[in-house]
Amino acid sequence: MPGESVAATTYSSDAALARRAASGDRGAQQLLFLQLKAAVHATLYRVLGSNTHMDDLLQESFLAVFRALPSYRGEAKLTTWADRIAVRVAFHYLRRSASLRASDRLPESAPALRLVTSAEENAEHRQGVARLYAQLRRLKPEYQIAFALFELDGRSVEEVAEITGVSLVAAKSRISRARRKLWDAAQRDEVLTHYLTQEDGERP
């Protein structure tokens, strides 16, 4: 596009792929899906804690990605840009499902385990993660997402701010509030307390 700033297009190969996919090039559409699917799935999974409804959420996310492709100019990495869309989809999913959810229901399938040393530890870890997500579900969607991206997906505060579209201060504040609320809940939940102290070693 003649008036477009070249400097603004940092990720030119991503932008070229996006343009081809947006113009209906089937090969480019498939390549874009292949390049983004792992990242989008990981983001949705860590925010939501399970693969429940994952087919639909992935479909919704990718459709949103393709809708928004004409606006992508390569200012950010394509995966980061798609992450923002996936987080929006997760946010609306959480908001939609909040009213339907029993307050203390555990996730339908607990997240996968990290490498652990024994069956007992394995079970404890699974239970702890399940309790963590159960408590997270009680928080506002924006707190859930900020916490999950920072603590469970390993993002920096800067990345959380960028993906969720808020200031650095707001991102920090959301993470911090989510932590405090989780620790408050842990006072009434031994399994969660054990899990948090085992993982952290100390209270925030």
């Binding site: 209906g24 498939q30 899906f33 479909q59 393709f66 809708r67 929006r88 996968a112 390993g154």
Partner: protein, 336 residues
């Protein structure tokens, strides 16, 4: 809390699940769903919010026609000039007595007491009197026509490998696979009649492919507003065959069965296929049933669909649907 320490492993999706997601996504793209404005909550709706009227050049209007191309006061005009209220007269080959307008992204058009012919890219629209529609998109990304009121007839080049062309009328979306069809706005949805080629109609959870002569919805109690919009559920070509076979008689059991299968296509395609399979063995409806079975099978992604269509050509090389079958087979061959 150390984030690196807590990072949770991802439970992988099965290959079958990924295949499902990819197939569904590509099918959605084929149907032009990515061109349909997203719900506002998704955040992309803003970009797609149709900017009322820009940059259209209207030529000519018949004596009784007033053509309004509106523009949002806050929106700068695009290349192609300011929107105009057409008042000049110019001879146009078709439609007789109509006006012509070239529509661009963001255009809005309302007709008064006469039809208007419009061009979007290389597609032609005949917009009936007292109709209103908006246009979004471009040749590179595809076109979305939102029909707010009235009726529009579209002549669209086959989309094989090209960006989609879709008409949204209420909660009904019509995506072009082939060439000529009309959409009439109803309260919440639309009535669709196909003259040539193939279109996909999606309304809520229902999705159905329509061939020439077929209309949607298929319910017989939908009142038609003109003789062209026949309300019968059976395809037009099927009705013609029926007229020959059962002239002057009430619908036969086979016809009723055929019509039942046609109604089931959107909600229970497998049941529809079973009925067509029964019907195509013998009787006056066998050719229609074989064609319908092949068409539906192809639309449902079943390999048997192509085989059935080829069988149709073998049995009825000059049958009433032979041309449609050839078009479907060409289309199926070009998609992959």
């Amino acid at each position: 809390m150390s984030s690196a320490k807590r990072k949770i492993a991802i439970e992988p999706l099965s290959r079958a699940a990924w295949d499902r997601v990819e197939a569904k996504l590509l099918a959605s793209l084929d149907q032009g769903e990515h061109l349909v404005p997203a719900p506002v909550e998704e955040g992309t709706g803003k970009r797609w919010r149709l900017r009322a009227g820009v940059a259209a050049t209207a030529l000519a209007a018949a004596a009784a026609t007033l053509l309004f191309l509106k523009r949002d006061p806050g929106e700068p005009p695009r290349a192609g000039g300011e929107p105009v209220v057409a008042s000049a007269t110019a001879p146009l080959p078709e439609p007789a007595g109509g006006a012509q307008a070239f529509l661009a992204d963001g255009s809005r058009i309302e007709t008064s007491t006469a039809p208007v012919q419009s061009t979007i890219g290389d597609s032609m629209l005949e917009i009936a009197d007292h109709s209103s529609l908006r246009v979004a998109g471009d040749d590179a990304h595809g076109w979305l026509v939102s029909l707010d009121a009235g009726r529009v007839e579209c002549r669209v080049a086959p989309r094989r490998g090209r960006p989609p062309f879709a008409v949204q009328a209420g909660d009904t979306r019509v995506t072009v696979v082939g060439t000529r069809f009309s959409v009439e706005r109803r309260e919440q949805g639309a009535r669709v009649v196909v003259q040539e080629g193939i279109v996909r109609v999606q309304s809520g959870e229902q999705s159905v492919l329509l061939s020439p002569g077929e209309s949607w919805p298929a319910e017989s109690n939908v009142p038609a507003s003109s003789s062209e919009r026949a309300p019968e559920p059976a395809p037009h070509h099927a009705r013609k065959s029926a007229a020959g076979a059962h002239s002057g008689q009430s619908a036969s059991a086979e016809q009723r069965l055929f019509e039942r299968a046609a109604r089931l296509e959107a909600t229970d395609p497998q049941a529809a296929l079973r009925i067509y399979r029964e019907l195509d063995r013998h009787g006056a409806w066998s050719a229609n049933a074989l064609y319908a079975r092949g068409r539906l099978g192809l639309a449902s992604g079943q390999p048997s669909g192509k085989r059935d269509l080829e069988l149709y050509l073998k049995r009825y090389p000059n049958g009433p649907n032979a041309e449609d079958v050839r078009a479907l087979l060409r289309s199926a061959g070009g998609q992959r």
